[in-house]
């Protein structure tokens, strides 16, 4: 019964924190461009508006299933991410399960976009999957390194080890190179600047989202909230020792999302092949060096 409550609460909390993150990123972008930016509840307005469209244009069953997979994959992932006071399924499925689940949304979107038969969408999703290939290699190396150091793939145990040992056992201090590689892959995992070539509004008309209107777009907006939250919490868990209580935890998670994004917003977009080259060169190299450091 307690577990059931947690399974309901964890995605809900993730959604609300994710909404705040979307607002934060839009505010940061606006401030950097010397604008005021959207009002406080803007992400909520957007999602309610998109779900309240009165005519919906569906391209078929797979189109709808794709969105369900995209959102569902992340909802499943949230239950594996321990937060202060809630462990959810973290003891049953470790970081390996989580890595698998994080691929489900991209694949779901690929399915959904496939049925739209829009050439812009196909180009976009092929770029998105290539991007996934690019950031997954350093991501897997980083995850492997962390699991090796702590001798477990259980996220809850990783957090406990770091919290009991204090700051000097944090992943950031113990394996700085792996943390750096992880930090470099963060913007790519969030699908944000400068790695949003698969969205590219002016060139391929938002790529995978090109045929998504109304509730489909609303689903993707929800997915984006989960995406930001998942990436932020995962990094906090692996390298910043999770959180003893909610304020500290939220502070860490927001900082993890905000700091690399503020820097990344300054850069123009990378093309897909440049992104692949960048991702497989620097983060992979740094992560391999980090692995050498922690394994010797």
């Amino acid at each position: 019964m307690h577990l059931l409550l947690e399974l309901l609460l964890m995605p809900l909390v993730a959604f609300i924190v994710g909404l705040a993150m979307v607002l934060m990123l839009r505010k940061i972008a606006a401030r950097l461009q010397r604008r005021i930016g959207p009002p406080f509840l803007q992400p909520v307005y957007d999602i309610v508006k998109l779900y309240s469209k009165e005519t919906q244009i569906s391209h078929g069953l797979i189109h709808e299933m794709g969105i369900v997979m995209a959102v569902g994959g992340y909802i499943a992932a949230e239950t594996l991410l321990p937060v202060p006071g809630m462990r959810g399924l973290a003891d049953m499925g470790g970081i390996v399960t989580l890595t698998y689940l994080l691929m489900v949304p991209s694949l779901g979107m690929a399915l959904g976009v496939g049925q739209c038969a829009n050439p812009n969408g196909s180009i976009g999703i092929s770029r998105a999957l290539t991007a996934m290939l690019a950031y997954d290699v350093p991501f897997i190396l980083v995850v492997f390194g962390v699991a090796w150091v702590h001798g477990t793939t259980n996220l809850a145990e990783i957090i406990e080890i770091q919290q009991q040992g204090g700051v000097q056992t944090w992943g950031l201090v113990q394996m700085p190179l792996l943390a750096l590689a992880g930090l470099m892959t963060l913007p790519a995992m969030m699908g944000k600047q400068p790695f949003e070539i698969y969205v590219a509004p002016a060139e391929i008309a938002t790529g995978p989202m090109v045929e998504m209107g109304g509730k489909f777009m609303g689903g993707l907006f929800v997915m984006q909230c989960f995406q930001l939250y998942t990436v932020g919490v995962l990094y906090t868990t692996l390298f910043l020792g999770g959180g003893e209580n909610w304020p500290v935890f939220l502070l860490k998670v927001f900082a993890v999302v905000a700091i690399p994004m503020s820097a990344a917003l300054m850069f123009p977009r990378y093309r897909t092949e440049d992104m692949l080259r960048l991702m497989w060169k620097w983060p992979v190299l740094i992560a391999l060096l980090g692995l050498v450091m922690v394994m010797t």
């Binding site: 839009r26 606006a30 461009q33 010397r34 604008r35 005021i36 930016g37 959207p38 009002p39 509840l41 803007q42 909520v44 307005y45 957007d46 309610v48 508006k49 309240s52 469209k53 009165e54 005519t55 919906q56 244009i57 038969a117 509004p201 002016a202 008309a205 938002t206 989202m209 090109v210 045929e211 998504m212 209107g213 109304g214 777009m217």
Partner: protein
């Protein structure tokens, strides 16, 4: 919305009578359109919910700016740091599927109008059209042009006109705020007008583009599906459309111009 009549060009009557676009419009006043009145629901909670939804719709508007003519140049300052439309929840979107507002920012040539109608029909409702610049109101300085569609609202319903040549960003934002007010009070229902009076709009479109004019979106079927049929939806023009209508076919897939073998 008052109908704006422009006098014909001075001492140049011939040009006006030859004019293909304006004189052949189906004469009909806006007043004869059945006006959709928002119905209060019996459940008070449902009314609160409707009000909340309308508030969100007004505070989050994704606009598709169809940049024709000169007015387009007024939109970048309205969106960027000087006037910052995002404060009001207005942001640009790039595909009709995601957009709520269709901004038409200047004169519309006949060829462009075809694309605008295709775009308009692909947008999910509730959708709003804003005509910016005098050219969209009555042709403006292109009144005597043979190739320009004057009076946008004859081809599809327009929610708000922002007159001016060109209107400044303040005026654009003011117009958008007017639209917000209309959405909040439930008066911005022009998208229903298109379904309910499709025969009239299609008639004007056919007069301009010829009898064979058809779009990929089946408006009559959508009107039936969403229960928006009135006695004005079907008529002689939709009958003509049915006569000439070709079933939609998937585009042939080919590489380097080689035709697919059947």
């Amino acid at each position: 919305m008052a109908r704006i009549d422009c006098p014909a060009g001075p001492g140049n009557g011939d040009d006006v009578t030859k004019d293909k676009t304006e004189n052949t419009l189906i004469k009909r006043d806006d007043e004869s359109f059945p006006i959709e009145v928002r119905q209060e629901r019996t459940n008070p909670l449902a009314n609160v919910f409707d009000g909340l939804v309308r508030f969100c719709q007004a505070r989050s508007m994704f606009m598709l700016h169809y940049c024709t003519g000169c007015g387009a140049i007024e939109l970048p300052p309205a969106m960027t740091s000087r006037f910052d439309m995002e404060r009001l929840g207005i942001q640009p979107m790039v595909t009709p599927r995601q957009a709520d507002i269709l901004l038409i920012t200047g004169y519309v040539s006949i060829k462009t109008l075809k694309r605008i109608i295709l775009t308009y029909e692909q947008m999910p409702a509730p959708k709003y059209v804003i005509g910016i610049c005098s050219c969209t109101v009555n042709g403006g300085m292109y009144w005597q042009s043979y190739a320009t569609a004057k009076m946008l609202k004859a081809y599809f319903p327009v929610d708000i006109y922002i007159a001016g040549c060109m209107p400044r960003p303040e005026a654009v934002i003011e117009g958008l705020k007017d639209l917000m007010g209309d959405i909040k009070t439930g008066r911005a229902n022009s998208w229903k007008k298109y379904f309910q009076n499709y025969d009239y709009y299609l008639g004007n479109q056919q007069k301009l583009f010829g009898e064979n004019w058809q779009t990929p979106t089946d408006i009559v079927a959508e009107a039936q599906h969403y229960n928006l049929m009135t006695d004005q939806t079907l008529g002689e023009h939709t009958a003509l459309l049915e006569k000439h209508q070709q079933p939609l076919q998937a585009l042939g897939m080919s590489l380097h111009g080689q035709k697919e073998k059947a």
